[in-house]
């Protein structure tokens, strides 16, 4: 929704909302249109194609969830920019399985320790 302000005849600033309080369905319509639109951009930018309409619809659902996730990340990490990336049609577990790959272990205990280096000039 947007809010604009102007001043009425007797000089009082008139702050009024120009878009009705969207009910849940209206907000979600915005969100859905937004998500559909972003998904279209995402598919063309990263040349994504899906084997079937079911797969496409499933990936759209994942994409919407990742939009919300990017929003949460932005709130938690405001000094970076979070949004749609080439991984936005992957669930977090698909992403972890396919694109990470560090054995979740401590460093080998027997590895040689680096000598302490001088750090003051």
């Amino acid at each position: 929704s947007a809010v604009v302000s102007d001043v009425n005849s007797d000089g009082d600033p008139l702050i009024r909302q120009v878009v009705s309080d969207g009910g849940v369905e209206e907000d979600s319509d915005d969100h859905l249109l937004n998500a559909e639109y972003h998904f279209t951009l995402f598919k063309s930018k990263y040349r994504k194609t899906y084997a079937s309409q079911e797969e496409h619809d499933y990936r759209l659902g994942v994409f919407k969830a990742n939009l919300r996730r990017a929003k949460r990340h932005q709130l938690l990490d405001p000094s970076a920019v979070h949004g749609v990336t080439k991984f936005s049609d992957l669930t977090p577990s698909e992403f972890r399985r396919q694109y990470l790959g560090l054995k979740p272990l401590k460093l080998p205990a027997d590895a040689q320790k680096a000598p302490i280096l001088p750090t003051d000039n």
């Binding site: 000094s79 977090p92 460093l107 590895a111």
Partner: protein
């Protein structure tokens, strides 16, 4: 220690690579560190083969049962250095190109070794020591928690909350004293990290994360490698 430092400015970092849909980040982190060390030892920047590690390195960590390097199913950079030390070195990328899967046999050819490891070390969770080793020994192999990286597009990542369980291997190539973060209206010192998800991710394939409090575990698994002074054949 300089306030800002970046091995890309000194020619010690190859182009951003793409591991594709394969959990082989550990091999990209390890080759990146050896590429830098080889450059420091010989003045020669050579892109090294991750596929050799994916196909041939099944080195296990003696201390931890089941902790073996296993292609697209994960590995450890220090085990990769151990493997490379044992077999004599890594081939060039162009002699043993990356395929993005681990179904092929090991095709390692000893006569084509391009870079060799003389030793490797792990570095304590001390940011000054990490910076000092980076400046002295070249790019460092680091582990990180990648949860915020799936949606990252740019800027200095500094999440208020981020687990330190490590699930991704990357390459630390530099650091900066001040990456301006508009939201917090102040400069934040940051690490510069080379990732292996292609140049169309993040900042041209790179990730910046703030320094100072082991954010996302970035300070907790850091290792450096030293290369032999032999130029590639």
């Amino acid at each position: 220690l300089p306030d800002d430092f970046d091995w890309r400015d000194h020619g010690a970092v190859t182009g951003v690579k793409d591991q594709g849909s394969c959990g082989s980040c550990w091999s990209f982190s390890a080759t990146g560190a050896l590429e830098g060390a080889h450059y420091l030892a010989t003045g020669e920047l050579v892109s090294l083969s991750e596929q050799q590690l994916v196909d041939c390195d099944h080195e296990c960590d003696p201390q931890q049962y089941g902790a073996c390097d296993s292609g697209c199913n994960g590995g450890l950079m220090t085990s990769a250095f151990e493997y490379t030390l044992k077999v004599g070195g890594l081939e060039r990328e162009k002699d043993y190109p990356y395929t993005g899967n681990d179904r092929g046999p090991c095709k390692f050819d000893k006569t084509k070794i391009a870079a060799s490891v003389s030793n490797f070390s792990v570095i304590s969770v001390d940011e000054d020591q990490i910076a000092a080793n980076l400046v002295k020994h070249g790019p460092l192999a680091v582990g990180i928690n990648a949860v915020f990286m799936q949606t990252y597009m740019g800027g200095v990542s500094c999440p208020y909350i981020c687990f330190r369980t490590l699930d991704h291997g990357v390459l630390l190539v530099g650091y900066g004293a001040a990456g301006y973060s508009p939201i917090r209206f102040k400069d934040k010192p940051f690490w510069v990290i080379k990732n292996s998800w292609g140049a169309n991710w993040g900042e041209d394939g790179y990730y910046k994360i703030c320094r100072g409090r082991n954010v996302c575990g970035v300070d907790s698994m850091v290792s450096s490698v030293a290369a032999l002074h032999t130029k590639s054949q």
